[in-house]
Symmetry: C2
Subunit: 371 residues, 2 copies
C-alpha cells in the first residue's frame, strides 16, 4: 500500500541529465532522492521487477550523487569517517561503507571509490553527506577539499547485462571485478565504468562525467540494448528487499547504531586508522545493542504493496519494533520484511505480530539476506 | 509551467504529524522538503494565493525541521556558523540568518530561535543542516549537543490571523513582536508561538512539541477559524516571490556566496564573534562579487506558471545568468522573477533577455523586494 500523490515540480527538485529521456521512455512515477527527481516506476512495480530479474534494464540513478574528496589528507579523512578498514582499498576499487557520526549513528552508506592516491568519491544514499563531510573537515582543519562533481550514474542491471556491456565497450569489461572500475569513454562521452548497482541481478554503473551528454548516453545504451530487449528500469523495491539491500532513510538513519545492522563484515572496529566513531562503537560492542535490524517472514495473503509508513511490531500486545520495508517476494513466494526489533525479541526463529495495512499478521524473525 | 508528476510514497519520505489532516482538508499536490512530504496546493495555486492575501490560512510546515543546539559552547557555536551578529539575540527572540561554509557559500537560511542562554533552534530550509552542524561540531571538538527534536511547525498566515490567534490564545499574543516567541500550550498541547511565517501577509507559527498531537492541533485551529472562514493553505510561490523571500535550493545554494544576495542587513562581516566564513567573506567584499541575485520585470503576456528549471538570461545572445523563480504577480500586474546575473549586467535598470517556456522575453533588472 505504498500509494502515490501528485508532486509539484520546482527548480529545487533537481532534474537528472537523463530526465527527459526517462520521460520519453515512459517513466510513470518518481521519488525525490538527494534533492533530485528519480524515476521509480515504468510499467508498474511488478512488471519492472520481472524485467530486471529476467533480462536487462537501464536505470537513471543520477540521484546517487558523488561527494568528491581530494587533498593531502584525503585518505586519512576517508578512513576517519567510517569504521570500515580501507587500508587495502586500491586505486580503481570501490567499497561499501557505513559513514558514522560520533555516536556510531549511520549518516549514510555509500560506495567509496578510490580514483587516485588522494582522490575519492562517495557514491551516496539520500542524505547530504556533502554537508556532513565539509563540516567535519572544516572543524578538523585538515587539508581536504570536498565538493559535488558533475557526475551522474546510469545503471545497467539484470542477467543480460554483460553481452550488452561487451557490445558497448569491448571484452575488457568482463575482467572488471565486483566494485572495481575503469575510466573510459563511449563515443567521446567521458565515463567511469564500475561493476556495481543497487540490485543483486548483476550489472554495471556508468558514471557520466558530463551532464550535457545525458540524453545521448541514454540513447546510445538503449539503441545497443535493442537486440537484448532492454527495458527502462529503476531500483526495484521488491528485488532490493529480496536481495537484503538496506535503504538509508527507510531501514536505517542517524538514529541507527551501525552495530544494529547485520553488516559486521563492513565494520572493523579495531582497524589501525583513527575514526570518529571508535569510542562510541567500542562502547556499543561491549554493552550490546538494544535493537537489531532483522528479516521477517510474514504469514497470510500476499502483500498488496509496500510499507510507506512504519508498521508496528508487537508481542503479546506490547510494542517491540517496527517494519520499515516490506514486499511480497515472487521468487520466495512469501511476504518478507525488514524490521528493527528490540533486544529479547529479535533472535532468528522468534515469533512476533505485525500490524500491516491488511490486518494483524504473525511473523517469524529470520536472517538477512532472506533464504 | 511548473507542472507535476506522480510521486511514489515511501517510508523514506517522512509524513508530518498533520499529514492525514491535510489530506482530509483537500491537499492536492505535494513537494518534498527536508525528506518530508509538504502540501503545496489545495484549491490551486491562484485560489490559494487569494485565500492567503485576503483572509487567513493554515499551513502544514512541519518540513521546516528544527536543529537543536545545546551545551556550554552553544552560543559560541551559533555565532560561529553565521556572519549575522547574534550578540543581541534575546531569549524568546528569533533572527533570520545565513549559515555559511568556509567559502561563504550558503548552507541554509534558517530562523535562529534562542530558547535559553545555551539553547537554540535553527528552523531550517531544505538541506541537512543537522549533518553540517554535527560534522562541524565534531571536528571542532566544542561542547555542543546537536539533534532534531520532535517539533513540527504549523503556520497561521494572512491578514485575519490576529483575531483568530486572540481567540485561541488570548490578548497577550498581540504583544509578540516580529520573530519573538513564547512557550505556551493549547488545550494541553505543548507549543511555542512565534510571530513569523514564510509570507509577508502577517501571522504566527505554532511549533508543536509533541508529534502525536498534530491532528488534534490542526482540528482545534480549523474549528476556531471557521468564523473567519479559514482555509487550508501552503507557502505560496506567487506571494513569496512578490514579497521578495528567497528559497534555498531555488534562488541560492552552497554555490551562492552570501554577498551575492541582497541581504546585507543580515551580514555583519566585522562582528566581534569568531565565525567560519570571515576570511572568505572579507575577501569577497574586497574583490567584489562576480554575480548578484536581483529581481526582473519581464515583459509580455502573463506567465502561465512558474519556473521548474532555470531559464537562461542573456544579452546580445551571450549568456549572463539564469532565472530561478518566476510568477505573474496579480497585485503588481507584472511578470516578476528572481535571477542570478553576472557582474556588468545586474545593475537596476539593465535590460536583458529571458528564455521562458513561452518564448524569448525582454526584461529589466530591478531591486528586491519588488515595488
Amino acid at each position: 500500500m505504498a500509494g502515490n500523490l501528485e508532486l509539484t515540480l520546482s527548480d529545487r527538485l533537481r532534474k537528472s541529465p537523463y530526465y527527459e529521456a526517462t520521460l520519453r521512455s515512459g517513466a510513470k512515477s518518481f521519488t525525490i532522492y538527494n534533492h533530485m527527481l528519480m524515476p521509480v516506476v515504468y510499467e508498474g512495480s511488478d512488471d519492472d521487477y520481472w524485467n530486471l530479474i529476467n533480462n536487462v534494464t537501464l536505470w537513471d540513478v543520477a540521484a546517487e550523487r558523488q561527494v568528491e574528496i581530494t587533498g593531502s589528507d584525503a585518505f586519512r579523512f576517508v578512513e576517519y569517517i567510517t569504521p570500515r578498514d580501507l587500508s587495502s582499498l586500491q586505486i580503481g576499487q570501490g567499497k561499501y561503507a557505513l559513514i558514522t557520526d560520533e555516536n556510531g549513528g549511520v549518516v549514510n552508506d555509500p560506495i567509496i571509490l578510490r580514483l587516485g592516491e588522494s582522490h575519492f568519491w562517495l557514491s551516496i544514499a539520500d542524505s547530504d553527506v556533502l554537508l556532513w563531510a565539509k563540516g567535519l573537515a572544516c572543524g578538523l582543519g585538515w587539508d581536504v577539499q570536498i565538493n559535488e562533481p558533475d557526475v551522474s550514474p546510469l545503471a545497467i542491471q539484470g542477467p543480460n547485462n554483460l553481452p550488452l556491456m561487451v557490445d558497448l565497450f569491448g571484452d575488457w569489461v568482463k575482467d572488471i571485478k565486483y566494485f572495481f572500475f575503469k575510466e573510459t569513454e563511449l563515443d567521446g562521452i567521458p565515463l567511469i565504468v564500475q561493476r556495481s548497482g543497487w540490485s543483486k541481478q548483476g550489472g554495471f554503473e556508468l558514471y557520466l562525467r558530463d551532464g550535457n551528454q545525458g540524453e545521448r548516453l541514454w540513447d546510445l545504451v538503449m539503441k545497443a540494448g535493442e537486440k537484448y530487449d532492454i527495458k527502462p528500469g529503476t531500483p526495484n523495491n521488491i528485488e532490493r528487499i529480496e536481495s537484503g539491500l538496506f535503504s538509508w532513510g527507510n531501514d536505517m538513519d542517524l538514529n541507527t547504531n551501525a552495530l544494529e545492522l547485520p553488516l559486521d563484515m563492513f565494520c572493523q572496529l579495531d582497524k589501525n586508522a583513527e575514526y570518529l566513531s571508535r569510542d562510541a562503537l567500542h562502547k556499543t560492542r561491549s554493552e550490546g545493542v538494544t535493537k537489531k535490524i532483522v528479516g521477517l517472514f510474514v504469514e497470510g495473503e500476499a502483500f498488496d504493496g509496500g510499507c510507506a509508513s512504519p508498521w508496528k511490531v508487537s508481542i503479546n500486545n506490547k510494542r517491540c519494533g517496527k517494519v520499515t520495508s516490506a514486499a511480497y517476494s515472487p521468487r520466495l513466494k512469501k511476504n518478507i520484511a525488514i524490521a528493527t526489533i528490540d533486544r529479547g525479541f529479535n533472535a532468528a526463529g522468534s515469533e512476533v505480530e505485525v500490524d500491516t495495512p491488511w490486518g494483524l499478521r504473525l511473523a517469524t524473525v529470520t536472517t538477512i539476506p532472506f533464504k
